[in-house]
């Protein structure tokens, strides 16, 4: 398999504070990769670095092309969809407008059909399509955020703690859908999670990150089976 995303010696800074210290990892095309770690380990920063939303040094290559000189919106236009922490819902707009916004960089053809596909993935969104997105429940907003990202027809989808604040049953559904999207639409997924157990179930590859450094990497099932890793880094 070829690497879709290739990250070398990535460091990130918030003002004077260095949040990432020379991260190196690759994402294989078509795979699901998970980035695990505790609060403040640098998971969110890694995703923000890929989209050039923090100051970074090092190299990030997407499909062979460097990203660091591109603005956030131009990175998105390459087919990298980012579901941010807190979901980034356009709360004052309707559910359908949120979905249209996901496809705003594409030509108009096929958008309506894709919205119907999203309604098939997430039937609850269809019921609520004229409703203001801010009135949706947390789980519904997370589904909307994933659907909005898929409207880009992304090659790579970055998900920042999709399980945050959701009931366990809803989280399970959501991860099932993510796995399905990965298989059927061939979307490469990088998911950041605190809920390690669930993320490892759908992931092929896993990296464990601690205070801005990768401390462990391997096949997801190996990491899940390794009791030491589980106890020291994943806490279950």
């Amino acid at each position: 398999m070829t690497a879709l995303l290739n990250i070398k010696a990535l460091s990130a800074f918030y003002g004077q504070v260095q949040a990432l210290h020379g991260l190196e990892f690759t994402l294989d095309e078509g795979s699901v990769t998970t980035l695990l770690g505790a609060n403040g380990a640098g998971k969110t920063t890694t995703l923000r670095a890929i989209c050039n939303m923090v100051r970074t040094t090092g190299a990030i290559e997407f499909d062979g092309a460097p990203l660091s000189s591109r603005s956030t919106e131009n990175i998105v236009r390459l087919g990298i969809a980012h579901v941010p922490q807190g979901r980034g819902t356009f709360t004052t707009m309707t559910v359908e407008e949120n979905l249209q916004l996901g496809a705003i960089t594409r030509s108009k053809s096929g958008v309506a059909a894709d919205i119907e596909r999203m309604y098939a993935h997430f039937p609850v969104l269809k019921q609520r399509h004229t409703q203001q997105a801010g009135t949706l429940s947390g789980g519904e907003q997370q589904m909307l955020a994933v659907a909005r990202a898929l409207m880009l027809r992304p090659r790579l989808m970055l998900l920042d703690e999709p399980s945050f604040g959701l009931a366990p049953l809803i989280v399970r559904d959501l991860f099932k859908i993510l796995g399905k999207i990965n298989r059927e639409d061939k979307v490469t997924i990088l998911v950041v999670e605190q809920n390690a157990q669930l993320a490892l179930e759908i992931a092929d590859q896993a990296y464990v990150i601690e205070t801005g450094r990768i401390v462990m990497s391997g096949r997801a099932n190996e990491i899940a089976d390794n009791e030491d890793v589980r106890r020291s880094y994943l806490g279950y």
Partner: protein
């Protein structure tokens, strides 16, 4: 009763102008969180451009459309040159920028066209509208053009993709970037549209207040009052606020003894203060909640 109806209709006519100014102010406020104190001067300058074009012999509506295009481009240029570099600057720096812009445009207009008061034509005439003494054709025209403008804006923001992108950029800029919207250009576009809307207000009110570099001073204060009354976060509210302020202004001038024409402006200021004290979000605005 006829006096009352007459004053209400006249209030709606000038209210239409206030609504345009309020809308322009709200559009820029939504985009960059600052009040554009130079909005009136930008409109005044545009009005002078249209006057100059007519002096050169162009018919009214050609001059009108060319002025719209000029104002749109001018608004974008002002944003790119002055306010884009100030985007991350503190509030007071921005305020200083607006005041500088105000002074520069005002002085330039005075320098180019001098400060004498000029007649400005109306394409609608000033005969009684439909034979009724209640309202003149120019006042009816002011209302008509404003209504057309509002419909056009509604359609633009509701049904076009670029309108959707502009709304998204104004409401959640970070998410807008994450779906690939160039938020910086959306702000510039907002400036262009606000300048064009302001120029319409200027060209419509000029036959009433006459053309001179300080013609928009009072109008902009009414526009601010309208925007605050309707809610700075609500374009719809700003429009309603505009019409309300127009009506209140006229009725107060007619019925409250001692107000007359001279004390009309303090009414607008009193209105601003009352709204800010009693209901800071305005009639239709969302209260702004910030996590700290």
């Amino acid at each position: 009763m006829e006096l009352f109806t007459n004053q209400v209709l006249a209030g709606i006519a000038t209210g239409a102008i206030y609504a345009c100014m309020a809308l322009a102010v709200v559009m820029i406020y939504q985009a960059i969180d600052h009040l554009n104190f130079a909005q009136g001067e930008m409109a005044m300058f545009s009005t002078f451009i249209s006057w100059q074009l007519m002096q050169w012999g162009l018919p009214y509506w050609v001059a009108f459309l060319l002025t719209l295009a000029f104002s749109f481009a001018g608004g974008i240029v002002i944003e790119r040159l002055l306010f884009k570099p100030l985007a991350k600057a503190p509030i007071l720096t921005n305020v200083a920028g607006f005041i500088a812009l105000f002074a520069i445009i005002n002085s330039c207009a005075g320098l180019i066209w001098d400060f004498t008061i000029k007649q400005y034509p109306t394409p609608f005439g000033s005969a009684p509208f439909l034979g009724s003494q209640l309202i003149s054709t120019h006042q009816a025209g002011m209302i008509g053009v404003t209504v057309l403008l509002l419909i056009a804006l509604y359609v633009f923001f509701r049904y076009t993709r670029i309108g959707l992108a502009m709304r998204a950029a104004a409401s959640v800029p970070e998410s807008a970037r994450l779906v690939g919207i160039n938020t910086s250009w959306m702000i510039a576009l907002g400036w262009g549209m606000a300048a064009a809307i302001g120029s319409i207000a200027g060209m419509l009110i000029a036959p009433v207040v006459f053309l001179e570099p300080n013609m928009m001073g009072g109008v902009l204060i009414y526009g601010f009052a309208a925007a605050v009354l309707g809610g700075l976060t609500s374009p719809f509210g700003a429009v309603i606020g505009g019409f309300l302020v127009g009506i209140i202004e006229n009725l107060a001038g007619t019925y409250i003894p001692g107000v007359g024409n001279e004390l009309k402006l303090p009414i607008a200021l009193a209105l601003i203060i009352t709204v800010l004290v009693v209901k800071p979000a305005g009639l239709f605005g969302r209260p702004i909640v910030k996590r700290v």
